[in-house]
């Protein structure tokens, strides 16, 4: 089922989508205003009471893929709350931004929930309540998400009047576990938030009949860092340091989305050397993640050869990254307007040589793994995600491509120098099990090797960084990148004097975590660590 589409898909829809957007104000009287921000980005304003009518009308027409949902506390400036929902339409690079203003005169800001229509909006809306106190009316599962029930529901951290250093009292409350699975023979197995390995906290509550999982409730956000609050008012340079450290394993993807968003607002055009270097760094990050994950999958089944070889290869790559950039996890390689690290010809030959060695050893590891029938048996049929589930929840990355959702930002909405390397092979599987996710990773690793080699070969000369230019206050923008775990979409609002006023970091893990409990259903409890590892999502990317 290899799919080597080199051209962007769904080009045939593009003209239809454009026509549809042009006709929007005529067909839908509930739209208050329409702004064409650029050719591919249209902003419409809808009043809160018309939201459901709007979505009900447009939903059947095209495929709406939720990119992010941003809430803003604008009571001081405009006396309202604003919610912006950004959609990608039918896998074309055309974005629809739906803006809703909620008047501040309401004591409790309310917004009709769109989760019943678009299940992908579930977490965004719950988080909106936790951070802003905006109530999603009609949400099917309005439990708290990021701020657990121990947090009082009078403090909403991202409101402007909420002080950063406030430490509200702890409330003893067990409400989160209200919706229990009951019945004869159902056993509850609480796991975490403190785990037996060196991983970050999350609480998994299994309801199992015998060994079969009938329900899994997962609670995350135990170590929420409050980065979005922290970013408010920081200069754009300081903000880069913080965004870099949101998650070590996705540094390049996160920072690149930040840099690109700001460069897009400022209208900066990068030197082509910088864009090629960005591709090299982004692919290096994908490589060490995917190769490390291959080893981790072996840990899920107790296959020691694979665990050790995977760890060794990952270490070689991290070491290489330290030699090239001074940072094992590629901190500080990206700058606004370019990159911060140049690669000399000797660096490039070291990179090429090391990657050739890693590639050879990785192929041998893959052979060892896939020729071991016991390993393959454990992988096959475990943790199946159906395509329908993946589409409903808006899955991204490896998890989506493993069940037939053919999306990859590098090809669909190309950034950096990715257009130079067409065709980019995007692997696709339809079975959606652990084996499919492994195979996707294996093929993506091969493609990353190719991309890095090609980038080394065609690396143009030139400056590595250009001045960013000035960012007008109150301008906003977002950018997508493809991390090792899937599409990252960060949204930023610029404040006065080149500062960040509001940031909404949406990582791939944020979208994909809700898939994990779905994948675990009807599997047996001892298979869960394997299923979880096959997604290999970050906790840190959630706890931003």
């Amino acid at each position: 089922m290899m799919n080597n589409l080199n051209i962007r898909k769904n080009n045939e829809y593009e003209s239809q989508v454009r026509q549809f957007l042009k006709d929007l104000p005529i067909t839908l009287p509930c739209i208050r205003s329409v702004v064409f921000i650029d050719a591919n980005h249209i902003q419409v304003e809808v009043i809160p009471s018309d939201i459901l009518q709007f979505y009900n009308t447009v939903k059947p027409r095209f495929l709406f893929i939720l990119l992010t949902m941003v809430a803003l506390d604008r009571r001081r400036e405009y006396a309202n709350w604003q919610v912006r929902t950004i959609w990608c339409i039918s896998e074309t690079p055309i974005f629809l931004e739906v803006v809703t203003n909620i008047d501040q005169s309401n004591t409790v800001p309310e917004l009709p929930s769109i989760t019943p229509l678009f299940p992908a909006a579930n977490w965004y809306e719950r988080e909106m309540y936790d951070f802003f106190g905006i109530v999603p009316v009609g949400h099917p599962d309005p439990r708290r998400l990021a701020m657990h029930y121990h947090w009082p529901n009078t403090n909403f951290p991202l409101r402007q009047d909420e002080n950063r250093s406030t430490f509200p009292p702890y409330i003893s409350n067990d409400e989160y576990f209200q919706n229990r699975t009951t019945g004869s023979g159902v056993m509850e197995i609480p796991v975490g938030p403190i785990h037996a390995g060196i991983i970050e906290p999350a609480h998994f509550r299994f309801s199992a009949v015998g060994e079969t999982i009938v329900n899994l409730e997962a609670t995350f956000f135990y170590t929420h860092k409050g980065i979005e609050k922290q970013l408010e008012g920081l200069s754009i340079e300081q903000a880069r340091y913080i965004i870099e450290r949101t998650c070590a394993a996705c540094t390049v993807a996160n920072t690149l989305a930040y840099c690109q968003a700001l460069e897009q607002i400022a209208g900066t055009s990068l030197s082509s050397r910088a864009t090629f270097l960005r591709v090299i760094f982004a692919e290096l990050e994908r490589l060490y993640n995917h190769i490390g994950d291959t080893g981790n999958l072996c840990a899920g089944v107790g296959f020691h050869v694979g665990i050790q070889e995977g760890a060794a290869l990952k270490e070689i790559l991290l070491d290489l990254q330290e030699r090239l950039t001074g940072s094992r996890y590629l901190f500080g390689v990206l700058r606004l307007g370019g990159v911060g690290v140049d690669l000399s010809p000797s660096d490039l030959s070291l990179l090429h040589k090391t990657l050739a060695e890693v590639r050879k050893r990785y192929q041998r590891l893959i052979k060892t793994m896939l020729l071991n029938t016991s390993v393959v048996d454990r992988f096959t049929g475990a943790g199946i995600i159906f395509q329908r589930t993946a589409r409903e929840l808006g899955a991204v990355g490896v998890a989506a491509r493993a069940c037939g959702v053919d999306r990859d930002v590098r090809r669909d909405i190309p950034y950096a120098a990715y257009t130079q390397f067409n065709p980019i092979a995007i692997p696709l599987r339809i079975s959606g099990d652990v084996l499919a996710r492994l195979e996707i990773r294996i093929e993506e690793v091969a493609e990353s090797f190719r991309l890095i080699d090609a980038a080394i070969q065609h690396l143009p000369d030139g400056a590595i960084q250009v001045p960013l230019g000035s960012l007008p206050a109150a301008s906003s923008g977002f950018s997508l990148t493809e991390s090792a775990r899937g599409a990252v979409c960060h949204w930023f609002l610029i404040g006065p004097n080149q500062t960040i006023k509001r940031a909404r970091l949406r990582t791939a893990s944020y979208v994909n975590w809700p898939l994990v409990p779905r994948a675990a259903l009807n599997n047996i409890v001892p298979d869960f660590p394997l299923i979880n590892k096959s997604f290999e999502l970050c906790y840190s990317c959630l706890d931003r």
Partner: protein, 318 residues
């Protein structure tokens, strides 16, 4: 050969074997761990790590859940006591000091006692992991116990006695004679050994993936000295099962003479065979991933059938 009364010699032999087994069992565990690490290109813990682990546990205060009853408190002593008894009973140096008393049914019974107590203790604390470990242990043991019984019975039929010493003696006497039957039963015994000692592909002894544990799950609530006893008992069990394997299925190189030269050569041969067994276990653990839990019955059923074959074959060609 078979001592009818406990003479001073018997008691001396008992003490010698007991001291040997309980002092060397952690060493065997350390050897397997180190070998496994080396095969994975890790340095791994030093070979005497299990001793230092025991010393560490010994100096820590135990903590018991307030849900725990007397079963939880009693179990480590019962399990360790059972293993001490087996350490005297099972033939390690060719013949058991209690030869004649060492019926294989007694051995299986004592092992079952230890297992039942562990399982109850796992359930006793009403922790979810203990319960999971216990239920899986029962799932595995339902097939492991008959497997062990059939394997040993196959040897017993050949020896014409259910005494472990008689079986070991018969294997030693017939050494060099290649028997397809003993090959088959030996193979079945290896599967059973891996399952009994909680090793891959049945259980992962290194795992702290809470959700996949079997043996570790039952021990999860133990700490301090009781934990030391549980671990130690498990290592003794592993040592004894390997010793039995060596005596029944790897008789080569051990003689029945009692002169000084035979003592030296026998000790060397035994040491060599233990190291061989340790290498074998670590290689299997390295190459095999953990099986899907519900495929285990199939694996153990295969072992059982192979053992049955081994039992039938010699009788076919009699």
């Amino acid at each position: 050969m078979i001592t009818q009364f406990f003479g001073i010699k018997t008691i001396g032999a008992c003490i010698l074997q007991l001291a040997l087994v309980i002092s060397l069992a952690p060493l065997l565990q350390g050897l397997i761990k180190t070998l496994k690490a080396r095969f994975q290109r890790r340095i791994g813990p030093p070979i005497w790590q299990p001793y230092t682990d025991l010393a560490k546990y010994w100096n820590k205060l135990p903590v018991a859940s307030d849900q725990a009853s007397w079963i939880f408190i009693l179990t480590p002593f019962v399990v360790f006591g059972a293993m001490l008894f087996l350490a005297v009973l099972v033939p390690v140096l060719g013949i058991s000091p209690l030869a004649g008393w060492d019926d294989l049914i007694v051995m299986l019974g004592v092992m079952a006692l230890a297992r039942v107590m562990s399982v109850l203790a796992g359930l006793d604390t009403s922790s979810a992991f203990g319960g999971m470990g216990s239920s899986r242990e029962m799932l595995v043991s339902v097939l492991v116990e008959p497997g062990l019984l059939v394997t040993l019975t196959a040897s017993a039929i050949r020896a014409g006695s259910t005494s472990l010493s008689a079986m070991s003696y018969s294997a030693l006497r017939s050494q060099g004679t290649f028997l397809p039957a003993s090959l088959l039963t030996g193979l079945a015994y290896v599967f059973i050994l891996l399952a009994e000692t909680g090793r891959l592909p049945v259980d992962n002894p290194d795992t702290h993936l809470e959700l996949t544990m079997i043996h570790e799950g039952m021990l999860l609530e133990y700490s301090g000295r009781p934990l030391a006893l549980m671990h130690w008992a498990n290592w003794i069990k592993q040592f004894l099962l390997i010793a039995l394997f060596i005596n029944l299925f790897l008789p080569w190189g051990t003689t029945l003479n009692t002169d000084a030269f035979a003592w030296v050569s026998n000790s060397l041969a035994l040491t060599g065979k233990f190291i061989f067994a340790a290498i074998g276990v670590s290689v299997i653990e390295m190459l095999e991933p953990k099986m899907r839990l519900f495929l285990l019955p199939r694996l153990l059923m295969t072992a059982l059938l192979v053992a049955v074959l081994g039992m039938i074959i010699p009788n076919l060609f009699r």
